[in-house]
């Protein structure tokens, strides 16, 4: 059975690649492969003739310069096949887009070696890797050092990706969809919004708006599963409602921030349906505290005065929670159906 390896990620677009570093890494890779192939040829192709000294063979400029500097390397004798393999490997290395962060070629996600080439190269790697430590420990050390540095780049990027995964940037299509969702939410809650806008009883506004807001926003959150989506809906609806009653802006903003904040503390993101249910369902409920505070500050009315009859207040609060959760559940159900149909 063919052994499968854990592939390294393609990071070319994610990291800044310095040309000089890339060139340096490519040269080291070529040097190491040259040494491995030379060791292999020396031990396995002992009787194959003719053999040519490395210094007399054609290589790229940097390798030729390296061979001229190191007499020991230039004295290696290579058979024709091994020379061809080295040349092929150098071509692949030169064209490799992953040199700055790669681990091993067999772990590459975009394998460029053909199957038969791989079969030719793998024995060289297997045999010479241990021999390299004995014969050229400095190059072996440099190779390991480079490997560890590359692994560290991969690890750093994975951590960054995880962080970004939690707070993904909003694309224009997300903003447009959330704005459209807000427009529909306001339209659906339109008939009740002006009536409750001037109601002085605390909780009445949240109770009236709970069902339409939870229903539509839950669909929005199922489509745009990015953290901050509910706050964006809150900002948009607040800005529009704020044109009618400025207090509503703070109400919507506070409600969305509190609801989303708590949902993200509990569920971390909107991947689970429960998070959507919680966040959208309790959106209206969380506007109650801000309504109370704003009424106290702007109208100078004490909280007890705003609450009035405790039974009515409790009815409004529990109604806002229940209606909100029902609305969010309906929204989730519709989203499920649309998801099955491949529309969401």
């Amino acid at each position: 059975m063919k052994k499968t390896y854990r592939q390294f990620p393609v990071l070319r677009k994610q990291i800044i690649i310095d040309e000089a570093t890339e060139k340096k890494k490519k040269t080291l890779e070529k040097q190491v492969f040259f040494l491995m192939a030379a060791i292999y040829c020396q031990d396995f192709h002992e009787f194959i003739k003719p053999k040519t000294a490395a210094s007399e063979l054609d290589f790229s400029q940097e390798i030729e310069a390296w061979l001229r500097r190191n007499k020991r390397m230039s004295n290696y004798q290579l058979c024709h096949d091994c020379y061809k393999r080295i040349q092929k490997s150098f071509q692949h290395t030169q064209r490799c887009p992953h040199s700055v962060y790669k681990t091993f070629c067999h772990e590459c996600p975009t394998m460029c070696y053909r199957e038969e080439d791989q079969k030719n190269m793998l024995p060289i790697m297997h045999y010479s890797s241990k021999k390299l430590i004995k014969k050229h420990p400095i190059y072996a050390f440099r190779f390991v050092k480079n490997l560890l540095a590359n692994k560290s780049i991969i690890k750093k990027n994975e951590v960054r990706k995880m962080k970004i995964g939690r707070w993904k940037a909003f694309a224009i299509k997300d903003i447009v969809f959330l704005a459209v969702i807000t427009a529909v939410t306001l339209l659906v809650s339109g008939p009740v919004a002006p009536i409750v806008m001037t109601v002085t009883k605390l909780g009445a506004q949240a109770f009236a708006m709970a069902l339409p807001f939870a229903l539509i926003t839950s669909i929005g959150l199922r489509k745009v599963k990015k953290n901050g989506s509910l706050t964006i809906i809150g900002v948009f609806s607040g800005l529009v409602l704020g044109l009618m009653s400025p207090v509503m802006f703070f109400n919507q903003l506070a409600g969305s921030v509190l609801s989303e904040g708590l949902a993200l503390i509990l569920f971390k993101n909107y991947e689970s349906k429960k998070a959507v249910l919680f966040s959208a369902g309790l959106f209206s409920f969380f506007t109650i505290p801000s309504t109370g505070i704003i009424n106290t500050l702007a109208k100078g009315r004490a909280i007890s005065e705003q609450i009035g009859n405790v039974f009515t207040f409790l009815l409004f609060v529990s109604g806002a929670v229940v209606l909100g959760l029902i609305g969010a559940a309906i929204g989730n159900k519709i989203s499920d159906e649309l998801q099955k149909a491949g529309k969401l």
Binding site: A169, F170, A171, I172, K173, I175, V176, F177, L178, A179, V180, I181, T182, A183, V184, L186, L187, P194, I195, M197, T198, V199, T200, L215, I219, K223, I232, V235, F236, S237, L239, V240, G242, L243, M244, S245, P246, V247, A298, K299, G300, G308, N309, I330, I334, E337, L338, K343, L344
Partner: protein, 225 residues
């Protein structure tokens, strides 16, 4: 660059609306509250807000009647009157903010370097409310044509209303997003505007008068006159 004419600077309108709303709610129980309302109504009439006032009158009549009536169920006559006054405050504040053209507001916010996604989103919400009102009307008509009635089969009515509405939301938003992207709109880029919304002399005069009257009534409120 092209300078367009408008009633009052959009941001100034918004700020004044907010101030009018907050102070109005604070002054509701004062004896001179009617004077307060009349003063600002005259100010708005001077600055040619009569069309908006006429538009908002039906709303004021309906909610001005409904709200005190609802308050009368539990409260006294004076509470109903205060409720009526609150509706009037809402209407007064609304005159200023409703008169703002969405595109002027967005341009003014753009000039203030407010993030583009907020401006864009606000514009979409305001513009698309009308479009979706029509969409919802069409969906309701289609439901009636199929013989589904809310009071007979509420669940079926809900499904028949919400699913096509969501599909329309998705298709409209996708089309809009694609057209925005092809026009170079993005959340991370800063845009430029061909037309600018400037603060004019008219705005300065309005601001001076507005602040003078507001300071006068605030002084009267603090002194308990």
């Amino acid at each position: 660059m092209y300078k367009e004419s408008y009633s009052i600077h959009p941001v100034l309108s918004l700020i004044c609306s907010l101030l009018l709303f907050i102070t109005g709610l604070l002054f509701v129980k004062e004896i001179w509250f009617c004077n307060y309302l009349i003063t600002f109504l005259i100010l708005l009439l001077i600055f040619r807000f009569e069309k908006t006032i006429l538009k908002i009158i039906p709303f004021a009549i309906v909610f001005g009647a409904v709200m005190p009536a609802l308050t009368l169920i539990n409260g006294s006559l004076s509470e109903a009157l205060y409720s009526f006054y609150r509706v009037l405050v809402l209407v007064m504040a609304g005159i200023l903010s409703i008169s703002i053209k969405p595109i002027h507001l967005v341009r003014a916010l753009n000039q203030l370097h407010i993030p583009r996604w907020i401006n864009l989103g606000l514009l979409i919400v305001i513009r698309f409310m009308q479009i979706f009102r029509e969409e919802m009307k069409q969906i309701r008509q289609a439901i009636i044509l199929r013989g589904i009635h809310f009071f007979q089969t509420p669940f079926l009515w809900g499904r028949a209303f919400l699913i096509p509405l969501t599909i329309r939301m998705l298709s409209i938003s996708e089309g809009l997003a694609i057209s925005l992207e092809t026009r170079g709109f993005s959340t991370d880029s800063t845009g430029s505007s061909y037309e600018t919304v400037c603060f004019q002399k008219r705005d300065s005069v309005f601001l001076c008068l507005f602040l003078t009257f507001l300071s006068l009534y605030t002084f009267m409120f603090i002194r308990g006159l």
